[in-house]
Symmetry: C2
């Protein structure tokens, strides 16, 4: 089986692992690089319907434009619906204080989510291959992950049909089929760890153990099965013992205590609610009634012979203040009007003409959304907080500046695109938070 | 916790993971090398009772003798019961056609088993550490193993209390405490794969990821918990659904079919009975009644709405033949008398004076044992077959040459020490099997 041509193995793989492919609405993440170029080709060979999305991160000037044109040409040539978006990745990275790579990742997946929502796509396809997977495995292993993390790249809404192929095989196929592609220079340029593993540790490992990549495929399959088996067991327990009454889930202590090994199950049952410290959970089981743990999203209370699990409620505290920004504000927070922008999230540079006075200062409301600068899309504030790893307390403390109903500034964090000053803004309002 | 001195961490580790240490009868495998020397020291520091066993593989002439003397001295110095055995490792390796390292491993563990049986030891202690464990993990991963294999070094009858330490920490401790040790030159000298991983792939991995060894310890702990959770689930299923009636276990198909993912459970439930091919097991579930699978030790039959699992019985076929080796034999097998020994297991070089004619040719009997050459000890033939990975058919086909009740030659496989010619033998009998 291993020596079949790539196309036959791909066909078999799709038939056995992606039976519903033809009924799904697929969106291919297409950089124009070797991997996604080959995946596009294989999908076309199998006459699978899909659309193509290209992110232009604008990191390499003309080369980025050339990539974009190349992608458009390939899509047209295969008569595939084509989406493209250009990002100001560098600004976003600076704004967010993250690496260019992290910024590109966030921009990419946010846009893909938007496309999926708007275009009704059911699945995103990416061209990750076996070498990627082994790298991810090692990275996660070296971070002390558990079985879930070790499965490497997981598959749920993102499908990775090239995972059965090594980089070598993909390259060989491209050469044999005279497939052209653009070098993926920006792809993982600054991922030092991944590159270091690829070019040193894994290279040496491959040299030491024959057929390493084929063998680890087996390991991955076995681990996936083991993880699936455990998920099923955990789900069965939840179904049986997590008794939901309105907002509160009650779980019998006796049922929990029977689980073996307890540490495994405590982690598996409660990590999705934000409880990551098994030792804390173990203590709770033997603590006095009334003792509780708080995660970023939930409260877990020991109550007689049960645990009570409930979502934390963000209390809108009714604290609202108006402010006409012609002078500094000192209460409830300190906001200063300044002349020159400081390059920091503490400073909001707004277009005065877009604002309706008085502005409103208030706390988070369920359902809040805004248009964070650098992203151009709409984002739920709750999602934004989650991505920023806000604790419940953080959320409760966060002030939001609004113009009428619209969010102008998540104070000290992110300005809204609709109110942000542009180079053309004649009348900027610059506010600094302390 | 990580920065505590070695001795404190060891104490904590023993207290938390080896609670029964004081009630167990422990035997330390002691090479005199750094690792086992440090383990010996730590055990003494904690005033734990144990005995010491040293294998002299006689692979480095005087250096081997020096090691043995060193080990004896250290044991005496600490007033520890000391066992030592010298092996003819090279002859055994040639005889068995295995690497010196494999030979040493078999000799070592066979002797340890004997010692445990004779001395009533409950556990063997070895000095494997974290670096060893990571190497084993990678080796097994590159062999396509499952979760069980990935746990690296498992712990049941062999305890490895140094697994929490890296090689570096062990060496540092030895230096700080001025502990002397002998270099373990023969230890893993010819284990190319392990050494290659250690000196290249893992070195590079450590360079790429900070605190790699501490982090992978966490990964190992998580995997162990996951594996333990799965074992418990599998055991519960067996207890509930493997209904034993005399020799036969019946398992309801309905119960099996409810398991998810089926592939995982089929493997976990039946691999211990020698059924390793999940696809075969899956076919059996949907096959006609009467269809069966045979492993090296068991038979699994689909019988209406159940599977029947039964051990294969070795049928002693009552075929016995006598032979007076003054002329060649042609029936039931072909045995030729030759003049000069050939260097192969097909040839038995016997001491004629030890034999009582006529010899007896027969098949395996339950309870058979012999003294395989190169091992000096007694070995059950069933164990010998198992080690040689004999299938049931292999066992049934194996001829055994006996002198009265005693086994002379497992034909074509291994001569018995009691009848083997030595350099002093004046009257050799050389038999070749075809």
């Amino acid at each position: 089986m291993y020596f079949c041509p790539v196309i036959d193995r791909f066909k078999l793989h799709i038939a056995s692992k992606f039976q519903n492919f033809k009924e799904q609405k697929l969106l291919l993440a297409f950089s124009g690089g070797l991997d996604s170029r080959v995946l596009l080709d294989l999908l076309c060979q199998l006459e699978i319907d899909f659309s193509v999305a290209h992110c232009n991160f604008d990191l390499r000037a003309d080369a980025s434009e050339a990539d974009a044109l190349f992608c458009a040409r390939i899509a047209k040539q295969h008569q595939l619906p084509f989406f493209i978006k250009k990002f100001d990745t560098k600004s976003f990275a600076e704004e967010q204080k993250v690496s260019t790579q992290m910024a590109a990742r966030e921009l990419r997946y946010t846009w893909f989510d938007e496309l999926k929502e708007q275009g009704g796509f059911t699945h995103l396809l990416t061209a990750h291959h076996l070498d990627d997977q082994l790298e991810t495995f090692m990275i996660n292993m070296g971070r002390g992950t558990g079985l879930k993390g070790l499965r490497g790249i997981t598959t749920d809404k993102i499908l990775r049909p090239l995972l059965i192929f090594s980089k070598n095989e993909i390259e060989q196929y491209a050469n044999e089929q005279s497939i052209e592609w653009h070098e993926d220079a920006s792809n993982a340029q600054d991922d030092y760890l991944r590159n270091h593993l690829r070019h040193h540790a894994i290279l040496q490992w491959k040299a030491a153990q024959e057929n390493l990549l084929q063998q680890v495929t087996q390991t991955f399959d076995h681990l996936s099965l083991a993880q699936e088996a455990l998920s099923v067991v955990v789900d069965i327990f939840k179904e049986k013992h997590f008794r939901q009454q309105e907002d509160i889930i009650s779980i019998s202590l006796d049922a929990l205590m029977e689980l073996k090994p307890l540490a495994y199950y405590l982690h598996a049952l409660f990590e999705t609610y934000g409880f990551n410290h098994v030792a804390d959970l173990e203590s709770l089981l033997v603590a006095q009634s009334g003792k509780q743990l708080i995660s970023s999203s939930h409260r877990l209370i020991r109550n007689r012979e049960e645990l009570l699990l409930s979502p934390l409620k963000i209390e809108t505290q009714g604290e609202e203040f108006t402010w006409t920004p012609t002078q500094d504000l000192t209460d409830p927070i300190k906001l200063t009007l300044i002349d020159k922008p400081l390059n920091s999230a503490n400073t909001a540079v707004l277009d005065k003409n877009t604002l309706k006075y008085p502005l409103l200062l208030r706390k988070f409301h369920e359902g809040d959304y805004f248009y964070p600068i650098g992203m151009k899309g709409k984002k739920k504030l709750s999602k934004f907080f989650k991505d920023q790893k806000y604790s419940t307390l953080d959320k409760e403390n966060q002030w939001i500046l609004c113009s009428e109903e619209q969010i102008v500034w998540v104070v000290g964090q992110r300005v809204d695109t609709r109110f942000a000053a542009t180079p053309e803004t004649l009348n900027p309002l610059i506010i600094r938070s302390h």
